[in-house]
């Protein structure tokens, strides 16, 4: 190993990133070469001296102010965007649309007029559209899945519920579902607000032969 080699390797040497053999050879050269020894020592000294020049931390209050600005510029949005969580998981395929106006009656269960057939192990979308006559806070949405179906990203969860809010007008929930076994079952979606409840039923069948047949019967607005 000569001085040129040392020059090429010195950064890795200083960082302790040389393989053992090269490290040993470097150290051997440094014992014999005053010039390289001085070069390495000077580099080490600079590295040490640089440490106090690290960039400063943000000033006190900056971080809080930053997120305050975020809240100011992006006030609470309407819940029609709550589908975003599923958007990336959506697969191409048909979509079944349920359309309904919310809560015009105290309690309503829509008949299971709708039926769809899905291919085994293929993700497809079901979209529920809720036409809200007003803004609603603290809406609870619940899903009960049949045994042959799972919701993508929530394997093993047969009942799922979450709190959200609706804004006046159409609010769309997209459900990426996947048939995991053969069979047939009923997906039930419930929307509740205070003492009001609305339920939606959808029969989902897994295609035996992999051919997808489906019938879309959007439920008309109440």
């Amino acid at each position: 190993m000569n001085c040129t080699d040392i020059d090429k390797l010195k950064d890795d040497y200083l960082k302790g990133q040389l393989p053992v053999l090269q490290h040993t050879a470097t150290e051997q050269h440094l014992l014999e070469c005053e010039s390289c020894h001085a070069s390495i020592a000077a580099s080490r000294k600079i590295l040490e001296a640089l440490k106090p020049l690290s960039a400063p931390e943000p000033r006190k209050g900056y971080v809080d102010g930053l997120f305050k600005e975020v809240r100011k510029q992006y006030p609470e949005k309407s819940s029609r965007h709550f589908v975003a969580g599923f958007a990336t998981a959506m697969a191409a395929g048909f979509a079944l649309w349920f359309v309904s106006t919310l809560f015009e009656v105290q309690q309503q269960t829509l008949p299971a007029l709708n039926e769809m057939t899905v291919s085994l192990n293929t993700t497809q979308s079901v979209r529920l559209m809720f036409d809200a006559p007003d803004d609603y806070q603290r809406i609870t949405l619940s899903l009960k899945l049949p045994d042959n179906i799972e919701l993508k990203g929530y394997a093993g969860q047969s009942e799922i519920s979450w709190d959200t809010s609706f804004s006046k007008g159409p609010n769309i929930l997209t459900l990426p579902i996947k048939a995991i076994t053969k069979g047939s079952g009923e997906l039930i979606a419930r929307v509740s607000y205070g003492d009001k409840l609305k339920a939606y039923h959808l029969v989902i069948k897994t295609a035996d032969n992999g051919v997808v047949n489906y019938q879309v019967q959007p439920y008309p607005s109440a």
Binding site: K45, L53, E76
Partner: protein, 192 residues
């Protein structure tokens, strides 16, 4: 039967989710912004610009595996875009075209005086200011802020080999600058 699972928290929590996700990285982003802009106020503005732009991408952020490097890359690109918009490009220097080790002949006499003198922060800062922005940035990010070359590569889309060359050259140039600065020249005069 599985227990009921809360899929989404109340809508109000979107801000909280964003904050929980981003807040741990603000210090790192601020330091990077400071390294890029060189000014506290500009660093604050740059970080704020980035954070405000990211909020609508919350879902995407939640799916990013290594958020720290990803955020650094976004901030770096925002900075470059801003510089281009201002029609000044301080990162566009061409001295990296020089052969890597051309400036370091074998057994080039190193400034022994450097070992014996005090490296004050002012002196170092003055020397750093004489590096070109690309050289200074890679040296500061790697040697001070602890970024690996792979992380800088991810941030800047610059080949690791190029970064390694640049870093090596930056260190050599810094040593060279320091060796010619006072009081080294005085020391040389005294010794000669």
């Amino acid at each position: 039967m599985m227990s009921v699972f809360k899929l989404w928290p109340p809508k109000r929590a979107e801000h909280d989710r964003f904050e929980v996700l981003i807040k741990p990285h603000i210090s790192q982003l601020y330091k990077l912004a400071y390294r890029l802009t060189g000014q506290n106020s500009d660093a604050e503005d740059l970080v704020q610009d980035v954070v405000l732009k990211l909020y609508p991408r919350l879902t995407e952020l939640e799916s990013v595996e290594k958020l720290g490097p990803w955020l650094s890359r976004v901030l770096y690109r925002q900075f470059v875009d801003q510089q281009r918009a201002l029609q000044r490009s301080p990162l566009d220097y061409t001295d990296d075209e020089q052969p890597l080790y051309a400036d370091t002949a074998a057994c080039t006499p190193e400034p022994v005086e450097l070992l014996e003198s005090e490296l004050t922060q002012d002196k170092l800062q003055e020397a750093l200011d004489q590096l070109n922005p690309q050289q200074r940035l890679v040296l500061l990010l790697h040697d001070l802020e602890g970024y690996t070359l792979e992380e800088i590569h991810f941030m800047q889309d610059t080949a690791v080999g190029t970064l390694k060359s640049r870093l090596h050259r930056s260190r050599n140039k810094l040593r060279e600058i320091l060796s010619t600065m006072e009081p080294f020249t005085n020391a040389e005069r005294v010794n000669s």
